[in-house]
Amino acid sequence: MTGERTFQKFKRLIPKKAFLLWLDSLKKDYKLIGPVKTGNHAVFKEVDSSEELFMEYGTTMLSPGKLFLYKPNEELFRFAMNGKITIDEIAPIAEKQVIVGVHPCDVNAILYLDRIFLRTFKDTHYEARRKNTVIISLNCARVSENCFCSSVGAGPFLHAASGYDMLLTDFENEYLVEIKSREAEELFGLEGRVAGRDEMRVKAEKEKSMQGKFTKTINVSGLDNIFAENMEHPVWQQTAEEKCLSCANCVMVCPTCFCYDLRDEMSMDLKTVTRYRCFDACQDIRFAEVHGGNFRQRRAARLRQFVTHKLDQTNQYGVSATVGCGRCITWCPTGIDLTEITKEIQRYEPA
């Protein structure tokens, strides 16, 4: 490719030990965040040392993007309510941080959140944190039960050209390290072994072998039209009646669900109002309520909103909102599976 920037040529094999030591060296300027084993699953959290990292994790309940970039709860303004009201704009808390081990689905989810928070209206908090965050992605080496990223082009290997900093691929005792940003190029001091054509072929083989391991799949071609024609398909009502609890677990664990509520909280002495933003969910019955009506009064309508917003509505941002992480399936207490709902609808379509 002509015009390729020098850092994009950096493809090297680095012994894992050396790589982890380099991560530790970043601790003096950055918070280090990564997957940590707790019980029989993993969570993204800040670590004191790379020794705590569990890079072989399968999936996590919460995505790093919605924990460390777009926060579940964020204070935005403080209003002093004595006499003439004054507004104190709360500055973003945006410490420099490195998030390591982010799987391709979750990187793609962050790129999706960028579309919401960094376009016409920039979210000051998200923007500040995004700037101060180094994202080191890790191509997947195992497929979890509900993963279907390979069906939607969001994994198991990352193909996005930019918007993150480094990409790792597990090469047994080494990582294949690819640099994806100027900042990473400046930070990364290790030389390692240059990855040539052979190593890149091994990487491609690894990806191919991973592709074959998926048990959950979805056919997204033509889904926009198929959904549009089946808005009253019995699967919506039936799933809503028999399974859905409107608990909103699906929305909370979804790495691309971006909806929020703005809430005001008055202090006990009535002198200060804090306006904060917190995650909200289309599964809540009040979500689309207006005076005199509710556009999604029916549970079936709310369930349909979630599923179609994930799989359809590509006209919103030109991409599908699902990254195939499968979290909404894993954490649904009644086992609702959007790939199954889709298949149910597709069965009625001529092949």
Binding site: M81, T124, A288
Partner: protein, 269 residues
């Protein structure tokens, strides 16, 4: 600056329009500019914000909101006095395609408080009357007590055709206009479909039947415009509350051509 940061506006005047409906004339430190059909997020710390359309955009940089008290924010606002400050941010959204309506016959059709977001259109038409063809206003409300801007109708009627209706008259002997649904009045207007454009605002079910009625009169879906109401928290296409299929009503609307929104799920158009 955080785009969700509200500004203060001083209430210069308050006028009672109808039962539970008041018009607030507001001024800010900087002249306020907006397009007819756009809206502000209006509110107060501790109470929250609600999307409210502009019912007038004045030459001097002040603006008006006509607000019916029906919810937490609007109920709170009803006790405000002249000289008080309230908070707002905006203007947001895509308004009425007034430019596109130039040289055309305009049908302005409203129900209840749906007349408020159309008043800036009427004012534009009155100010540049010669730029437009025949202009007809069709307006209906539950009864006379729920009608907005009644003392302005005479002035409007000098330059436009005004058709009024109520579902039920409180004083039938004094009510000189039609009694019945807004849709009844469509038949009274001579519509030349090829040169007509319609701006419609009211309850969604009303807009459904108005639009379908106008289509029967030969108008095309793309010459009908409706303004939608949805719950909104941000007004800037982030909070997700107003999503209507793939559309953000706050950013892509609130004014849409009927073609864009007809038959979408979770709506009645």
């Amino acid at each position: 600056m955080n785009p969700l940061r509200p500004l203060t506006a001083r209430i210069e005047d308050i006028k009672t329009e109808a039962e539970g409906v008041k018009t607030y004339t507001l001024s800010t430190k900087f002249p306020f500019r907006a397009e007819p059909g756009q809206f502000n997020m209006v509110g107060y710390p501790g109470v929250g914000e609600a999307p409210i359309s502009l019912s007038a955009i004045m030459q001097d940089g002040s603006f008006k909101h006509t607000i019916k008290s029906v919810g937490r924010v609007t109920d709170f606002l009803k006790d405000f006095k002249k000289g008080d400050e309230l908070f707002f941010r905006g203007p947001y959204g895509r308004g009425w395609p007034v430019k596109k309506a130039e040289k055309k016959d305009i049908l302005i059709i409203a129900g209840g408080v749906g007349l408020a977001p159309l008043r800036p259109v009427i004012q534009t038409v009155l100010a540049q009357r010669e730029s437009f063809g025949d202009v007809s206003l069709i307006y209906g409300a539950r009864d006379e007590k729920n009608m907005l801007f009644m003392n302005e109708f005479n002035e409007w009627a000098e330059k436009t055709a005004v058709y009024l209706t109520v579902d039920e008259a409180v004083q039938p002997d004094r009510w000189k206009h039609h009694i019945g649904l807004v849709t009844d009045l469509i038949d009274r207007v001579k519509i030349k479909p090829e040169r007509a454009i319609a701006f419609v605002c009211g309850p969604e079910i009303m807009m459904r039947f108005i639009c379908r009625g106008l289509i029967i009169h030969g108008m095309s879906q793309s010459s009908l415009y409706v303004s939608l109401e949805r719950r909104m928290k941000c007004g800037i296409a982030q909070c997700g509350h107003c999503q209507h299929s793939g559309l953000f009503v706050c950013k892509d609307g609130p004014v849409f051509s009927y073609k864009e929104v007809r038959g979408l799920p979770d709506g009645v158009l």
